[in-house]
Symmetry: C2
Subunit: 181 residues, 2 copies
C-alpha cells in the first residue's frame, strides 16, 4: 500500500501511538489502514464414499487437483462461502456442511476452513475455473498431483475418519517449505 484508499495521499509505515507494530498511516488524513489475514473457505464433498476434486484451470498450480475452495466474500457466512465456491468450481450443490479442518498458513497470512458435506444427487460439472472434476475413491486419489498442502492434509485424514465414522475438528499450521525444483 502506497496511497490512502480514503483520500489518495501518500501513506507512511510507522507505529501509531498505543500500537506495537508498523501500520500504513495516511500522511494527510491520518487514517490507519490495517492489513489482516484472509479466509479461504472450501468443501470436502462426499458421495458414496468418494470425494469430489477439481483440476485447476488457472494459476497458481494449474493442472493440479484441489478441493473446491476460494476467498470468502463480505456478507456471507463461512459455510455459505464454502458452498458457493463448490458451485462455482464444480457446479455441485452440497448440504449437511460440518466444519472439518482449519489450517493456519502464517507465511502468506491465510486461514483455511474446510467443511465436509454431502454432494446432492451425486451431480457435478465443470466451470471455467476447473479443467475437469471427478469423484475419487481413497485408492485413486492422484497424490502426486495435489495442488496445495492443505488439500493433501485434508484428503489424508478424511478417508480414515470416514471409515471410523468419527470426524474430530482439527486445527493445524502449514509451515513454509520451499518447493523442490
Amino acid at each position: 500500500m502506497k496511497f490512502c484508499p480514503r483520500c489518495g495521499s501518500a501513506v507512511n509505515l510507522r507505529i501509531p501511538e498505543g500500537d506495537d507494530r508498523e501500520r500504513h498511516v495516511c500522511s494527510s488524513c491520518e487514517r490507519i489502514h490495517y492489513l489482516n489475514p484472509r479466509l479461504i473457505v472450501g468443501c470436502v464433498p462426499f458421495y458414496r464414499g468418494k470425494v469430489l476434486l477439481c483440476k485447476r484451470a488457472i494459476d497458481p498450480r494449474k493442472n493440479y487437483w484441489t478441493l473446491p475452495a476460494g476467498f470468502m466474500e463480505n456478507g456471507e457466512t463461512t459455510p455459505q462461502g464454502a458452498a458457493r465456491e463448490t458451485w462455482e468450481e464444480a457446479r455441485a450443490r452440497v448440504n449437511n456442511l460440518e466444519l472439518y479442518r482449519v489450517f493456519d498458513v502464517p507465511y502468506i497470512s491465510q486461514v483455511y476452513m474446510f467443511y465436509r458435506c454431502d454432494l446432492v444427487d451425486g451431480e457435478f460439472g465443470v466451470d471455467p475455473e476447473s479443467l475437469e472434476t471427478q469423484l475419487y475413491l481413497s485408492d485413486n486419489i492422484p497424490w502426486n498431483e495435489i495442488a496445495f498442502p492443505v488439500v493433501h492434509e485434508t484428503l489424508k485424514d478424511i478417508f480414515v475418519d470416514n471409515e471410523r465414522g468419527d470426524f474430530p475438528v482439527k486445527v493445524s499450521t502449514i509451515e513454509y517449505k520451499p518447493r523442490r525444483a
Copy 2:
C-alpha cells in the same frame, strides 16, 4: 475505498470480466482491490472452574465485559493471535489452546474463533484496553453486562460443556438484531 492503494488514482465500482459482483477497480492501473471478511481471534481462559473476563476500557461497548479477543494480525496463526490478545487485554499467559466456537457475523463481515485454554498459574492483570479483569464462576457471570452476542453465546455453553467434560466444536451465525434503545 475511493483511491487505488497502489497508484493513487480514483477507483470505480464495477464488475470485472469473469467476475459476478462489483469490485473496486483502479481507473488507471486496472488493479482489482478485493475486500474480504476479517477474523477476530480470542480465548476462553479457564482456571479452577472459573473463566477470565475483561471489562472493556474502549468503545464499542465500553464498561461491558468480554472475553479477550481481537483482530488477527498478518504472519501469525489463529491460536497465536488468540494468546497474544489475551496477553494484551488481560496480561494473562495461556496454554493448551483448543478451538471451541466459530461465529459468522455476516452483517459486519466478521468471523470469530474462540479457543478454550488454561490460564497459566492463575495469574492475570490489567492493561490500557481493560478497566478490570476478573475470574468468574458460572453463577457470577454479569449476564446483563456482556459486551457482544458472540461472548454471551460462548459463555452460555462453556460451563455446561465443562461440567460434562465434552467440548464439541460448533459453528453458528449471529444474525443482525437492532439493539433496543
